[in-house]
Amino acid sequence: MAEISFPLPDLGEGLIEATVLEWLVSPGDQVERNQPLVELETSKSALELPSPQAGKVIRIHGAPGETINVGEPLVVFEVPDNTAGIVGTVPKDDAPKRRVRLSAVLDED
C-alpha cells in the first residue's frame, strides 16, 4: 500500500484558499471516487468536494473554520500500490462531447 496526498485544488477563477465547513469523511473511512469528502467555502460560494479517487482516508487537514491554501494538503489516502505516485493524472473515459456535426451527400458510385 502507498500513501497519496491530495492537495486543495484550484477551485476556479483564481481562488487561493478555502475554509473548511464540515468534513464528510473521517480517517479510516473507505471512500469511492466522487464521494463527497468535505464541505468548503470560498469567497464566492460554498461547495462539496468530491473525492478524486477511491481509497482509504488516512489523514484529513483542517478543522471546521480553518482556512487552507490552494496546493496545501487536504486529505491523504492509502491506495493500492498500483496507481500510487504515478506521474501525471489518470485520464477519465468521458462520454464524447462534440460541437461539429458532419453533413455530406455521399455519392455511392
Binding site: D81, N82, V87, G88, T89, P91, D93, V100, L102, A104
Partner: protein, 343 residues
C-alpha cells in the same frame, strides 16, 4: 465424459482465458510470462525493481523472478540502452524501460548508432533481441518530456521496428510477441490508456503482425495508433449519428507499416484521415498518406487528410487538450474529406 460435459468444460476454459485487465495489468502479465518462459530475458531500467516502475508495469516482477532477472539501474538512459547491447551480445533478451518518451532522447546515440545497427554491423552475428518499452504519447498532464510521440523518429531509423498497442488485449499479445523477436522493437505504450480495462483473451491473440480493423465501416477510413485509436472509435460512433460509416484501422506496427491493410481498407472506403499526436511535419501520417496515395490513387475521392499535433514543442498540461487531436478536430478532418470535390 458426455459430449455436453466436454463442451461445458471447454466453455469454462475459454472463460478463464478471457479476463478483464487494464493495459497496465496486461503488460505486467505479459512480462511475467515472458520472464517465466525464457530464462535469458532480463527486465531492467530506472525504478523497475522494488518500485515496479513509474507506471507499475514491472510491479511485483522482481519479487517473483529475482533481482538478477528484474533490476534497477542507475539513472542514465544511454547507460541502460548501451548495457542492453552488451547483454544482447552476451546472449540475453533485454527488455529495458525508459520511463518516458522524452527520456529516450539521452539514449538516442545508443538506440540509433548501436542497437539499430549491431546486427548489420556484425553481419547478423550479433542480433539485438531488445524490446525497448517506452511509455509514450500525451494526455496525462505530466511535466515536460513526458508526453512526446517519437514514432516517426524511431521509424526513420533502419534496423528498428516500432509497435504501439491501443488496448489491453493487444498490449498483452504484442508485448509477448515483440519480446520473443530476434530484432530490436521499440514498444510504445500509450500511457493515457494504462488504466482502462478491457477483455484480454490470453489464449488467442489473433494475428499479431500488421494492422487491425477495430471497427468496420463503408465511407471513410480513420487510421490511428496508440491512444488515438480509442478517440477515433468515439469519433466513428458520433459520425454514425450523422449517417457516416467510419472504418477505424489501428495501424499497430509503425514499422513495418502494413501497407496492404491500408490499401484494402481505403480501397473500399475511398476516403482516409490519419490521426496522430505527433507534430504534423514529417510525422508518420505523411508516410501513411503516401502509401495510401500510392496504392489507391485511382479510386480516392479526396486527398488523404491528416489530423495531428502541431509543429510546436509538446505543451504543458493546460494546453494538452488544445494540442492532441480532439473529437471535433477529427470530425472536421472527416468533413473536409467528405466535402472535397475534384477540380
Amino acid at each position: 465424459m458426455s459430449e455436453s460435459t466436454t463442451a461445458t468444460l471447454e466453455a469454462a476454459a475459454r472463460n478463464e482465458q478471457s479476463v478483464k485487465l487494464s493495459m497496465q495489468q496486461a503488460l505486467n502479465r505479459a512480462l511475467d510470462e515472458v520472464l517465466a518462459a525464457d530464462p535469458k530475458t532480463v527486465v531492467f531500467g530506472e525504478d523497475c525493481g522494488q518500485l515496479g516502475g513509474v507506471f507499475r508495469i514491472t510491479d511485483g516482477l522482481q519479487a517473483k523472478h529475482g533481482e538478477t532477472r528484474v533490476f534497477d539501474t542507475p539513472l542514465a538512459e544511454s547507460g541502460i540502452l548501451g548495457m542492453s547491447v552488451g547483454l544482447a551480445m552476451a546472449g540475453f533478451h533485454p527488455i529495458p524501460e525508459v520511463q518516458f518518451d522524452g527520456f529516450a532522447y539521452p539514449a538516442i546515440n545508443q538506440i540509433v548508432c548501436q542497437i539499430a545497427r549491431m546486427n548489420y554491423r556484425s553481419r547478423g552475428k550479433l542480433p539485438m533481441p531488445i524490446t525497448l518499452r517506452v511509455p509514450s504519447f500525451g494526455g496525462i498532464r505530466a511535466p515536460e518530456h513526458h508526453g512526446e510521440s517519437l514514432e516517426a523518429l524511431f521509424a526513420h531509423v533502419p534496423g528498428l521496428k516500432v509497435v504501439s498497442p491501443s488496448d489491453p488485449h493487444d498490449a498483452y499479445h504484442l508485448l509477448k510477441y515483440a519480446a520473443t523477436r530476434p530484432d530490436p522493437v521499440i514498444f510504445m505504450e500509450p500511457k493515457s490508456r494504462y488504466w482502462q480495462k478491457g477483455d484480454v483473451d490470453t489464449a488467442d491473440g489473433g494475428t499479431l503482425t500488421g494492422a487491425r480493423i477495430v471497427r468496420p465501416g463503408r465511407h471513410l477510413t480513420l487510421v490511428a495508433w496508440g491512444a488515438m485509436v480509442a478517440r477515433c472509435l468515439q469519433v466513428a460512433e458520433l459520425a454514425a449519428e450523422d449517417g457516416i460509416d467510419v472504418e477505424v484501422l489501428d495501424l499497430r506496427w509503425l514499422k513495418p507499416i502494413d501497407a496492404e491493410a491500408l490499401a484494402t481498407s481505403v480501397g473500399k472506403t475511398r476516403r482516409a484521415v490519419v490521426v496522430h499526436e505527433a507534430p504534423l511535419t514529417s510525422g508518420l501520417g505523411a508516410e501513411v498518406a503516401q502509401l495510401i496515395t500510392q496504392n489507391c490513387f485511382d479510386t480516392l475521392k479526396a486527398p488523404v487528410e491528416r489530423v495531428t499535433g502541431f509543429d510546436v514543442p509538446y505543451p504543458s498540461g493546460d494546453l494538452e487538450d488544445e494540442y492532441i487531436p480532439n473529437i471535433d478536430r477529427i470530425l472536421l478532418g472527416i468533413q473536409r474529406v467528405l466535402e472535397y470535390r475534384r477540380g
